[in-house]
């Protein structure tokens, strides 16, 4: 496996110095290790992939499973990505879609945690958001306290529907990107998304609304 060669952690910066394939045009991170005292590992692209995408992958996982679980699983996503990077095929999609696909697979293995998350959210009220960002509090109020119904509806979706819906809602993915991430046909994305949105609207009593 190519990824096992010539990388490690800079003794000075602690920065990842990984050698891997070229994906996504990520920046070279050689400069981050220039102050190292030992032999400087070959710079590579995976460190750039990590720096560029870790935060959004973490937020996606935290949205689905909660922040405490997200720390581990976000890191796992990149551990798996590192080990699978030889299998990444840029013709099949972007690195971002590839990472979200790995993350989604890991989330799928945490269905109990995801259900707990929705139950906790259903119980949470405005009080839990009172010390959060003002924008979020305002948004919650605008949602007219439908949080319990929404959390419940999300919990009742099939895993496949939830994956598609949350890649749209949390990652702003297009149909094509979802197809890449999940390895499913483009048409299936559309049908699953329509079905999921309809179920959610029904649960919220919003059938008929389709605006963004």
């Amino acid at each position: 496996m190519k990824a096992a060669q010539g990388f490690g952690e800079s003794p000075v910066t602690g920065q990842l110095l990984l050698k891997g394939d070229t994906h996504d045009g990520v920046p070279d991170v050689t400069a981050q290790s220039e102050a190292g005292t030992g032999p400087v590992p070959a710079a590579g692209e995976f460190a750039g992939i990590y720096e560029r995408h870790f935060t959004e992958i973490h937020r996606y996982i935290a949205g689905r499973l909660g922040r405490d679980v997200a720390d581990d699983i976000a890191a796992d996503t990149f551990v798996i990505a590192l080990r699978k990077q030889d299998g990444f095929d840029p013709r099949r999609g972007t690195v971002r879609a590839w990472l979200y696909g790995i993350a989604t697979n890991l989330v799928a293995q945490q269905q109990r945690a995801e259900r707990r998350r929705y139950r906790a959210l259903a119980r949470a009220g405005a009080r839990d958001l009172a010390d959060g960002p003002e924008e979020r509090v305002v948004s919650w109020v605008a949602a007219e306290g439908l949080q319990p119904q929404l959390a419940s509806a999300l919990a009742r979706l099939s895993r496949e529907e939830r994956d598609v819906l949350l890649l749209v809602a949390l990652a702003d993915f297009s149909h094509e990107e979802i197809a890449q991430a999940l390895g499913i046909p483009y048409g299936t994305v559309g049908s699953r998304l329509n079905r999921a949105r309809k179920k959610i609207r029904n649960a919220l009593g919003q059938e008929g609304q389709t605006d963004e």
Binding site: A4, H58, D71, A75, L121, A122, S139, A142, A155
Partner: protein, 398 residues
Amino acid sequence: MNELNMIRVLLGEAPPSAEVIAEGRRRVAASATEPVRPGARHRAGGPETRPAADLRPAGGRGLRHRTARRIAVGAAAVGAAAALALVTLVPHGAPAARAGHGQADELAGRPARGFLLTMAVKAAAASPSTGRWYCRQMEQGRRVLVGADDTTLQAPWDQGPAASLAGYRYAIFTKYKIQSCFEPPTKGAPDGTVQGATQQLGAQPASPEDAAAWRRAGSPTSWIAWYDNTARITMAPGRRYLAGPRPLTGSSSGRDITLPANPAQLRAFYLDHQALFSNGGTPNEIVSEDAAGTMESGQPNTTPAVRAAAFRVLASLPGIRMKPDVQDPAGQYGTAVFLGQTRSTLTLLIVDPATSAALCIEDVARQPVAHVPAGTVLYYTLFVSSGWTNTPPSNPAG
């Protein structure tokens, strides 16, 4: 606001802290440089892989374990802590999970009401623990089926699409250790803190028959996970993964939930908070699972009075059954209370009749399935300890 924006509001989370990003970076770097252990099987040219997805403490790999509900009520703070975990508590080499608790006819059990009311009295008489930290220790195990080429098979009790058992050879049991400690809010830490660690304790053949089949298969020391061909389940223990202490934040903490100590109110509470998720469970199933969760004492807000109420709630369920003198995977004897069942599994709460302590929760096969007889343990969670303490959490790295 349309439903997509509402979802963004509901599930939106702040970015990870610099500490979390750095820890993830360290993990990835460590995984890349981890040496191959002698004797470990791995694919040519590749580093030995941590069975990343297999290390998860809460649920592991997708067993349809209906007792998931039980943890939810008022326990989100501990759930978060369990997801972090702390230290290995039982040495590697602890006995494998016992084969099971008898054939299907023996799983019928006998009425449990009297036993549960007795346990309620004992639970109420217990002294509440006090202290600065709430610490919990658990061991989880699950049965894994192995097929050709040392690759595991998706079992019928796993989540996911329909499984094929073609090529089945033998079964192994994988184990994890989990410890977590939660500290309530203080002046210095207004959100409270959580810290913990997990460790995979390794895997071993599930029975002497499985061991014989394992030897015939060449005595492999690692197996390829069916859900990710880069993930490995290893016979040798894995690394400990540590986290925290870190602030316990977020809307999922649930730390302020108070459980009622009145049985009727507690039952209503379970239903009020679970009815939203009626995806398959009857009210009695929901109540039994949540009551069992309360009795684990795995929650900082569970007092002796609340545990006693939970026993009474269980006792009120029509037709609830039990089986005495059952041995859990750690070799402890207790009384198994039958909590509920799916088409293929039966969930048991094993209680120490002397103290009312919850020893273990198990899912066992209700009928022969995937080459195992009825009564075979498929999944378990051992409750090693839980309670408040003034002893600071040990340095997990030490």
